[in-house]
Amino acid sequence: MAEGENKGLVLLDFWVSPFGQRCRIALAEKGVEYEYREENLRDKSPLLLKSNPVHKKIPVLIDHGMPVCESLNIVQYIDEKWPDRAPLLPANPYARAQARFWADLVEKKVHPPSAFHLFVSCAAPGEAHFLRKFTYCIRFQMYESGTKLWKLKGEAQEEAKKEFIEIFKLLEGELGDKKYFGGETFGLVDIALVPFTAWFYSYEACANLSTEKEAPKLVSWAKRCRERESVSKSLPDPLKVYEFVCFLKKVYGIE
């Protein structure tokens, strides 16, 4: 975490955000130095609001004053800006399309509770209000299966668990026996998905969902990813994530 001297690259981020972690991993893979700035999501900096006026969200990568928003967009930008090392997308157009397709699927279907959604979208505590407001903001057919795991109880939670397991089985099918989603090379799809593995412990603790049991290949894949320095240095301790989830539950009066 470099401070002071302007290195030209600044990442506006929030420690637990899986979206921010994607960017950190990509930057680390390319060996690019940057300044990390932690945002207070309840009191967003003028720089963040100016750099992402449309969504007002982290992460934002600011490259010599030019902002890039949306995590997968940032990852592709990083890949195109530094094409000479650690390619994050394959060379072949068809393989690139497959990588983009699966990264897009992760984006649409795997979406655990992220602090900024709750802090920004929700004016008042209370589960029903939150979910109603949230469904206005997102695609009609998709919803946060991850959020439902720790927010809901009983039947609704079982429904969410079922959905979550389905998505993970789908991803496992795509991974197969490969080392990474892209084959031998760590890439876009791995980067898109791996930050969510830090939430597995929370899903287990809150919803009794054992990813070890339901998606063992993904768990092994996550371990392999964590052996990479770019990943191990960018992902938070799952216990810290769980502490955060408990904090949010208290704040929003859930359980």
Partner: protein, 224 residues
């Protein structure tokens, strides 16, 4: 050879339209396969088992799904008339707005036209915010892509054609010329393109199809 490139599409779908437009802009010959979305073909389900949707592009027998993913593939495969800039930052901006159109804008616009009461008011507010942002983004430019039609323009084709039809069906007005002069001018310019007009579904037919759907929904009193 036409057999090399095939598009699984559904008449009236703005998403499959994007793919056809991109191919036409690049002068790529293709064959289309019309899908009945209420009775999807085995082939479509085989080529897009995950989402089971159109569009799907088939190139040399290999399928690609999701319209924005397909657009990037088309750009990388056929270099004529680029739809994305070369500069990485400009590309990132184009991708940002394409996603914005997909994730926030189309939903708000679509739902504004199919809901009622307070729900509709909420969606209309969101829709107007989206249109305002797009209006600002267009300032000083003929197209979102600059001087020529690019990926963002292709992604926004819903606004140039489908929106007007939906507004008429719903009896509301969203794309107000006074409030959004840039967007209205953009629509005019966009619709001047031959490639755009060649495969656009006829307005009258689209209106009839939306009206029929609306009647069917009212008949069953289903709420969206």
């Amino acid at each position: 050879m036409t057999e090399e490139v095939k598009v699984f599409r559904a008449w009236g779908s703005p998403f499959s339209y994007r793919v056809e437009l991109a191919l036409r802009l690049k002068g790529v010959a293709y064959e289309y396969i019309e899908e009945d979305l209420s009775n999807k073909s085995t082939l479509l389900l085989e080529y897009n088992p995950v989402h089971k949707k159109v569009p799907v592009l088939l190139h040399h027998g290999k399928p690609i799904a999701e319209s924005l993913v397909i657009l990037e593939y088309i750009e990388e495969t056929w270099q004529e008339n680029p739809i994305l800039p070369k500069d990485p930052h400009e590309r990132a901006v184009a991708r940002f707005w394409s996603r914005f159109l997909d994730d926030k804008c189309s939903l708000a616009l679509w739902m504004s036209c199919w809901t009622e009461g307070e729900t509709q008011q909420n969606f209309m507010e969101q829709a107007k915010e989206c249109l305002h942002l797009l209006e600002e983004e267009l300032k000083g430019k003929k197209f979102f892509g600059g001087d020529s039609i690019g990926m963002v323009d292709i992604a926004a084709s819903f606004i140039a054609h489908w929106l007007g039809v939906l507004e008429e069906m719903a009896g509301i007005s969203l794309l107000d010329e006074e409030k959004y002069p840039n967007l209205c001018k953009w629509t005019e310019e966009f619709l001047k393109s031959d490639a755009v007009m060649e495969c656009l579904p006829k307005r009258a037919n689209l209106l009839a199809s939306f009206q029929a759907r609306k009647q069917a929904i009212s008949a069953t009193t289903a709420s969206v």
